[in-house]
Amino acid sequence: MVGKAEPVNGSVKSGSNQSIPAAMQSPLKKSDLIPNLSLKTLKLKTKQQELLIRVSILCLVYVLAFITRLFSVLRYESMIHEFDPYFNYRTTLFLTEKGFYEFWNWFDSESWYPLGRIIGGTLYPGLMVTAAIIYWLLRFLRFAIHIREVCVLTAPFFASNTTLVAYFFGKEVWDSGAGLVAAALIAICPGYISRSVAGSYDNEGVAIFALLLTFYLFVKAVNTGSLAWALASAFGYFYMVSAWGGYVFIINLIPLYVLVLLITGRYSMRLYVAYNSMYVLGMLLAMQIRFVGFQHVQSGEHMAAMGVFFLLQVFFFLDWVKHLLSDTKLFQAFLRITVTTAIAVGAIALGVGTASGYISPWTGRFYSLLDPTYAKDHIPIIASVSEHQPTAWSSFMFDFHILLFLFPAGLYFCFKRLSDATIFIVMYGLTSIYFAGVMVRLILVATPAVCLISAIAVSATIKNLTLVARAKNKVTQTGFVRGSSSLKGSSKASLDQSQPFQRNGAIALLLGAFYLLSKYATHCTWVTSEAYSSPSIVLAARGAHGNRVIFDDYREAYFWLRKNTPPDAKVMSWWDYGYQITAMGNRTVIVDNNTWNNTHIATVGRAMSSYENEAYEIMRSLDVDYVLVVFGGVTGYSSDDINKFLWMVRIGGGVFPVIKEPDYLVNGEYRVDKGAAPKMLNCLMYKLSYYRFGELTTEYGKPPGYDRARGVEIGNKDIKLEYLEEAFTTSNWIVRIYKVKPPNNRWERCSIFTLGPHCAALPFSGNVSWLGRINFSTNAGIG
């Protein structure tokens, strides 16, 4: 214990080289000179000191991960953000009110009118069940908390738990120092924070915890070969399957890892035990989730795992036979026969399965990861989501900062000390970085790998540097009784000439590392505060005098819907707002964010892009009572429906060829001013967005009808609505609600000048007045 204290890497945060082993100092009563706030007065041994430092660092990191995600709760209020979390909130509310059985078998008629949605069978229940369990636990302890608070704070809580798992994972892969650094890095990494702030009650908040837990338990199982750890990893996998559709990544990465181990010759009995038990138990548990169903045996995305399972059986069977037989020649013959039979059987089975369609091919969502151009040509709905776009370099830098160049450094260290665990983390890192490059949303999946590998780089580098920096102390301490705090000892003369330079260089590099890490911490906090803490449903801006202006239009509109419309009213809007309307407005919607029925969405898209009379027919066929549009022309809000309009045209045109995208463009350009296409100026979306807008002056010095989001004066200011009437416009004109007028009670006098649905249908009925009948003959057959 004398003079051999290992450099505690937790000192990354404190940057100090001053931790002195107590055993070195206590006989000399050094503690008398230092005030009571010192570890030495606790008379702890080095191991206990180290444990105390580690535990306190982990506690601090745990708290840090939680509080750094609370910006939006402090700035606005404790509410659910964005779009998808509202659906999760609604289902959690239902679960806590009605119980698990009702939740599991829930058929919802309030969305996708008139089709309805089987919610019980088409969602991932992990998140809702987790929040409900926390809620019931707190209620049991008599904390009178509302389910919304639990929902809002679930993601930060699980982010804190993720840091703990990252610590254990780092400890498993490298050592406890790397674990601590990994925990600290992942606590504040913006790539993870973006989907786990307080209020972002979405599947990823829980899924990343489950992902890292499954990987950690599996690596532990491979390292120890214990069935208990494999069982634990199967349960981790079950939790992941219940939480997120991204579990496909796990079920493909782990077989790939097993394959790599087999190829590189690192296989062992432990691998067999770990993978097989995890696969069989995990697969069975996963099939309990209704949404996943039989995909593990029927879907092409899961076939890799099954293939590797059979391969392992064959491989280890051959290994066992080889071990049993003494004659190698016979064994070679046997080997040849078995291998060829096995490959032939496998290939035939796969071929027959795929050709007959029993094994379904890769779904569009995942196929577009392998072929990024697929979605744009074939599935416009997937291509239209902004999170599915390829990642720019600036996004990588924004979300990872220094981890971006620490990642290759960490890869170098991993390759220097290859083991089963480091091979796994390298594979996880490389595959996840590739996918992160294909889709912005998947930076989230890459974040734990990048943090872990960077932590290895940081930890190994700092360990080496501190060893060099303390090397002089070892030589001097044999002769000195004064503490190593006096680094400029007078024994320089007795040392090598290179030692001081090495030591100074090491200290300089350590200071540089400390500077970089503190820059990282600053950057992460700034990014969290500026970019990732906005609720999206409440907008804020700076007023003319620098004061903060809040736009709460969305909730205003949904509350109006809730209070001023009949309970069975049906609302038509673009699918982005469906979840929010059902959750907050409590009204039936036509389409929502689940986007499971492309034709239904295309029908709505067609209605929005048609002229008013054609749209009225579609709306009557869908029983629509209210139409909701989002308009950003007054406030300059750029995520409004006019900017999304081309996607409505594309999706509608994908199913109904009558809608053609070039009709709405002028020379390939999308315009809303005087030079816009005539179909654009008269379609329903344009009319509903700009109704009465032509009279409004939005900016000083600009003509009335100046659209601040597009920066132009609109082309068609004199808009008259025939089949709809304006019901409500929010205070900043962001959400506009229109009521669909019911058809007339009596037949209008039809002439050749009034065409439309209310003039048609019953050509020779007795209800028509004798005056009407005279004019009717001109319209016979028009309908």
Binding site: G225, S226, A228, L231, M269, Y272, M287, Q288
Partner: protein
Amino acid sequence: MARSTSKDAQALFHSFRSAYAATPTNLKIIDLYVGFAVFTALIQIAYIAIVGSFPFNSFLSGLLSCIGTAVLAVCLRIQVNRENKEFKDLPPERAFADFVLCNLVLHLVIMNFLG
């Protein structure tokens, strides 16, 4: 050519049999159990080839219970086999306890999935 391969196969079979006779009894019991489980799985596959696979969840749960217990028994055999140097420190009681626990979980899930 055929005679040489058949002689090869016979020689292979004989040497395999003599080597296998040398394994300890407890491992042979486990092998017997694995063989029984695989045999049951084959019977089930023959059944669906004749009758059809409805309801699919019941078929899967039956088949996977056989394969699952076979796999777990093989894992037990690996951990209990005294020739495996990696598992030298693992007491066989612990291996058996893990085996029982995993089987318990397996069959509970099967019971739920059986419908």
